[in-house]
Symmetry: C2
Subunit: 332 residues, 2 copies
DNA sequence: TCCGAAACTGAAAACGCTTTCATGAAATCG
DNA sequence: CGATTTCATGAAAGCGTTTTCAGTTTCGGA
């Protein structure tokens, strides 16, 4: 374990001053050929790496982006994370990642922790905070949030049009002749949960069908929640021929609940999800779902933040959803 | 956007010296009641947060743990990540996360990037590097790797006994009367892939069965790989009544491949996985598998590293696997 | 041959904190 | 009551960089 070697050691070894070494490193001013070589040799010899902390202290920028996710183990957020990772690849930025565990309080505390660590910007996946709170945080550091739309100088929100997407999912079921359509909703209080519920209702109303409270079960975006919702739905004894689940994970849970009761998909019941996780492809049968470009969403979030940090003010493009027809829906 | 307020501003406001403010913050020496209050008031008034960079520069410790995962979107690594997160919760440490994308080269580069950022320690999930390389890195910073076993002062490896686990998985199939058992292997070159393959073979040999190359298909721990492996297995025209997949994700892919061909599980074919991901529970039918305590593995990795950083040298306890019987295996 | 511009360089200050070091005041002790 | 600890504090040094500032050379042009 060599002690820390500094720019001063290099300078001594190369027979120049520390300033010159620094200039060599940053490349901001020209350094004579002969000294360049001496410095390069010294760096090589001493195996010197500049201390990023000192650099950051001086420059004020840590080249670090803070990420607040809600669940580190979630395949959905994982995909978003991967998108951000790709966006920042090769830029010298790194990711400091924390989880809010779907708790507004924890999300806020952890975001502030990121700020205390002087991250250059923050991305929040599906924030549980209000627009106001996000705006308030954005006074300290530029922010990007996913799962809702928003467009302010220092705080932008990126999301598909959840309401419209849910509308089209429900409408697709209606087009297939379903009239009694149940909904497994998302985590209560989240804007996207609410938007999807509204889209579902609007589609029904547009088709002249009155939404039935017995056909709406509370979920929480999790597999277990989806399974519980099936119980709730069946116990309420409202008959239905199709289910629109607020996300694929709920759909997966629901699928098991149905399997347990011997209800076949799609022969007895049609099922449609939301997100298009990788696993939607591997469900039995493969799940028809609304594709949310999750990876691209993360990538877009990363790029948008990078732009903000670079002072570029390009207009944000919002991601688009898409219906992916597989095999879990059948004509009624 | 207030300019940076420093300990000196606080000192001025409170009518004390910067040293005293620092002492108040660190609590290392006693400060008189009266000044404590004055400082507290000043901090409140100015909304002061100490600059972590300056602290780190001084102390040499960043209170940051670097994590190298192989795939940010993986449910397996996600669960491990969650474990680490829990282990460090409340300790003041934060996580700098990078991905090696299963590339030895990239893993090494990114690990060095973490070192350059002066992380206090590194955890690698399922490292693609050799023991030697890990040992070499550990000279610069304490390391914990998962997915293999290892016990050195500054580098410890944490894993279930993969060979024995695979042995028992295969043996379970044998006990159920299966004689022709196929194997979908993991990513080539990984130590755990190799260990699981060896355990599979040993179980067969112990039962007096000669391993058959036609019954071993190459996978890569992914869903797509599992599906491809099914094609490979069926095209090789070796008959078999059960499959041992190197992980649950492969099993999920295999399950879809079988579904496509109208092969029922477990009626026509038994299937056993490895890991016990959440989704194993939600497969149709729920998957019998070897449970690897993934979350605990991450947690253990976090705790072990924390111990190393604190200079405690407790003997490492290795995690244990367990057979979880669900519904994907039937007597032959 | 002289002059201003350009190229190159070192000393020193600054980033914001912690930690000796030194010192005066207060508390303890025989 | 005088001598010794202990307590509380400020000044200053230091963590490892980058960035003025202030030259010194070097060079092209007149």
């Amino acid at each position: 374990m060599s002690q820390n070697i500094t720019v001063l050691d290099v300078a001594r070894e190369a027979g120049v001053s520390a300033s010159t070494v620094s200039r060599y490193l940053t490349g901001v001013t020209s350094v004579s050929k002969i000294k360049q070589e001496a410095i390069a040799r010294a760096i090589e010899l001493l195996d010197f790496t500049p201390n990023v902390l000192a650099q950051s202290l001086k420059s004020g920028s840590t080249k670090t982006i803070g990420i607040v996710t809600q669940a580190l183990e979630s395949p959905f957020f994982g995909e978003e994370l991967k998108g951000v990772e790709q966006a920042i690849a090769g830029t010298g930025y790194a990711l400091l990642i924390v989880s809010g565990h779907w708790q507004a309080r924890e999300e806020k505390d952890h975001a502030e922790l990121l700020i205390a660590r002087r991250v250059d910007g923050i991305i929040i996946f599906t924030s549980t905070a209000s627009d106001k709170q996000i705006q308030s945080l954005s006074r300290q550091v530029p922010m990007v949030v996913t799962g809702r739309r928003m467009d302010m100088p220092r705080a932008v929100g990126l999301a598909v049009d959840n309401e419209q997407a849910a509308f089209e999912a429900t409408q697709y079921l209606l087009e297939q002749g379903h009239r009694r359509i149940a909904h497994i909703s998302g985590r209560v209080g989240q804007p996207d949960t609410e938007a999807r519920l509204q889209g579902y209702k609007r589609a029904l109303k547009t088709a002249g069908i009155k939404p039935d409270a017995k056909l709406i079960a509370g979920g929480d975006f999790s597999e277990a929640g989806g399974m519980l919702a099936i119980n709730q739905l069946l116990e309420a004894r409202g008959s239905f021929t199709a289910i629109f689940a607020a996300n694929d994970q709920s759909a997966l849970g629901a699928r098991l609940g149905l399997y347990r009761r011997g209800i076949r998909v799609p022969e007895d019941l049609s099922l449609i999800g939301f997100d298009d996780l990788l696993l939607a492809n591997y469900m039995l049968p493969p799940l028809t779902t609304i594709r949310q470009p999750t990876f691209e969403l993360g990538k877009l979030a990363g790029q948008t933040l990078l732009n903000m940090l670079a002072g570029k003010t390009e207009t944000v493009v919002q991601p688009q959803f898409e219906l992916v027809v597989r095999e879990s829906v059948r004509r009624a």
